[in-house]
Symmetry: C2
Subunit: 325 residues, 2 copies
């Protein structure tokens, strides 16, 4: 269940949750499961398969419990879900998800607009979820992450102070989260900020409690920010097939990092993702057929792989001579 073994960077695919919640097309559970199974077969080790949120709010994700039940059967796959509150978390625990993420928006204005909760109310939810997890037998307990949304700035509040982000990271850990994640909900982040914010949080809660980052590509800075994430030493990076998604509640925000383009970046540099890029591109083509063309983005799928390109994954046991240093 630990998706990070034998890879240098763990890519956490968020398309079935963050992607599908942002578009109007509804994929049925069968197609979602086909998608998840195909990406897992391509080597993706962690997938956020849905969200336990009100079906009235996001009918696209109403079948998340069914999808979790399917995805749990895939060997080696960490099945992650988003939960907006304790009620959602109880659904996730009942379904048997391996990882729960509770997003907490560092911008309280955004938090109120997004989930109608203050910071204190969200921390109460976190405590309730941690307590519910502790009631499970030790072997059944999922990982519980607090996601620091709008950590890099907010379309409503503008700049967000680093101090505020660090305070809430500490508060989430104290409330019982196993770890926190950094999220550039609005696509405001820049590489220096990625490093500075990561290091500031690490100083307070330790490196093992912040390993992942969720970056948006709203201003085309996604992979530049990934470079900073790699440089500072983060090891889990969220991405979405075809760049689908982004936060629909933050005006002007759109566009996740494109999984295919990210895998290409990492593998070209000789960093192991465990993902077969050709297989991943085939999954994209499959999912692309189910959705309107406007919903999928990215470059590698259109440009193709370089002539003679090989990655450690594609040629097992061998590094890429073009990139070996």
């Amino acid at each position: 269940m630990d998706g990070s073994s034998s890879v240098d960077i763990l890519i956490s695919e968020v398309g079935p949750r963050d992607g599908l919640q942002s578009i109007s097309t509804i994929l049925d559970a069968d197609r979602k499961c086909q998608w998840i199974q195909a990406e897992a077969a391509a080597g993706v080790r962690e997938i956020e398969v849905g969200s336990f949120v009100s079906p009235k709010l996001l009918p696209q994700l109403a079948d998340t419990a069914e999808v979790v039940a399917f995805a749990r059967q895939i060997p080696g796959l960490t099945v992650a879900v988003l939960v907006p509150n304790l009620r959602g978390a109880l659904g996730a625990l009942a379904a048997g998800a391996h990882k729960l993420t509770l997003p907490l928006s560092v911008s309280e204005t955004h938090s109120l607009k997004n989930v109608n909760r203050t910071h204190l109310q969200m921390l109460d939810e976190a405590r309730g979820i941690a307590a519910a997890i502790r009631e499970l037998p030790a072997t059944d307990r999922p990982k519980f992450e607090g996601g620091l949304s709008t950590a890099f700035g907010c379309t409503l509040e503008g700049q967000i102070s680093e101090r505020k982000v660090v305070e809430l990271a500490v508060a989430l850990i104290e409330a019982g989260c196993d770890e926190v994640g950094l999220s550039d909900t609005t696509g405001y982040g820049n590489p220096r900020q990625v490093k500075a914010l990561t290091q500031a949080i690490w100083r307070e809660i330790g490196e093992e409690r912040l390993t992942g980052i969720h970056l948006h590509n709203t201003r085309g800075q996604g992979l530049a920010n990934v470079m900073a994430a790699l440089d500072v030493g983060l090891t889990t990076i969220d991405a979405s097939l075809g760049g689908m998604g982004g936060c629909p509640f933050a005006p002007g925000a759109s566009g996740n990092i494109v999984t295919e383009d990210l895998v290409y970046l990492l593998e070209a540099m000789g960093l192991r993702t465990g993902i077969d890029l050709n297989q991943l591109l085939a999954v994209r083509r499959k999912v692309d057929q189910w959705l309107p063309a406007k919903d999928m983005h990215g470059f590698v799928a259109h440009a193709g792989l370089p002539r003679g390109f090989s990655s450690p994954t594609l040629t097992p046991g061998a590094g890429n001579p073009a990139t070996a240093q």
Copy 2:
């Protein structure tokens, strides 16, 4: 005439050359001059304004001499041009360009296809150009750059050996170039390669003879590669307004780095480009009106600047508190 003073990173705008040579719309000299003047007014200090190439091959650039004559009058602007051979260089010298770039494709297959010249023939051209420049009075001599095209790989030959790139860099300097530039014509480059190739060339010809890089965004890796360029210490980065252009002779290659997105990246990190981003976005809107929508790309122009965003350029004398470390 030294565009690099008082900035941390010199952005060399290549849209009027690399952009316009790749699209079917022909802008008349008056519009090109309006574009160049507006970008210079926004703070861009170096612009590649055209190419002295056969008007039969690229009618879009047939008026380059006229454009150079205009651009030369703009205070503080370095007027760069591309020259495919000695003949073109003589035209550039007569027009009074400040900087000449002779592209030499490290892939000899690409060189033959692109300009029908072997490496030895291109080095002869370089020697001829250097000799022609030496005949000018010292104060009138332009800078002469050898551009190492397809340095990161070739759509025809595939991988390009680092040794070959270094050899040709040395040969260009020996032929009389003041400096060389690295060019990812095909969008094959990755960040590790940017660093490794730069350092390998520096070891042979010294850091002062390689300061700039021309990156394509064909696979969405442009700004990730910029991060590596900044990290290794390159100080001049080519970009194109709206990402227009790319090499039309390399199948599958398209898309320069988007100037607006690059300026945003650098200024957000607190690196001075000297460019007023709001003014630059206004230039883009102006040029955009003259061209079909499909020719302009990029993110920042669509997403807008973050709420409360300020850059050192926009607030003279002050750094950006959000990014200061």
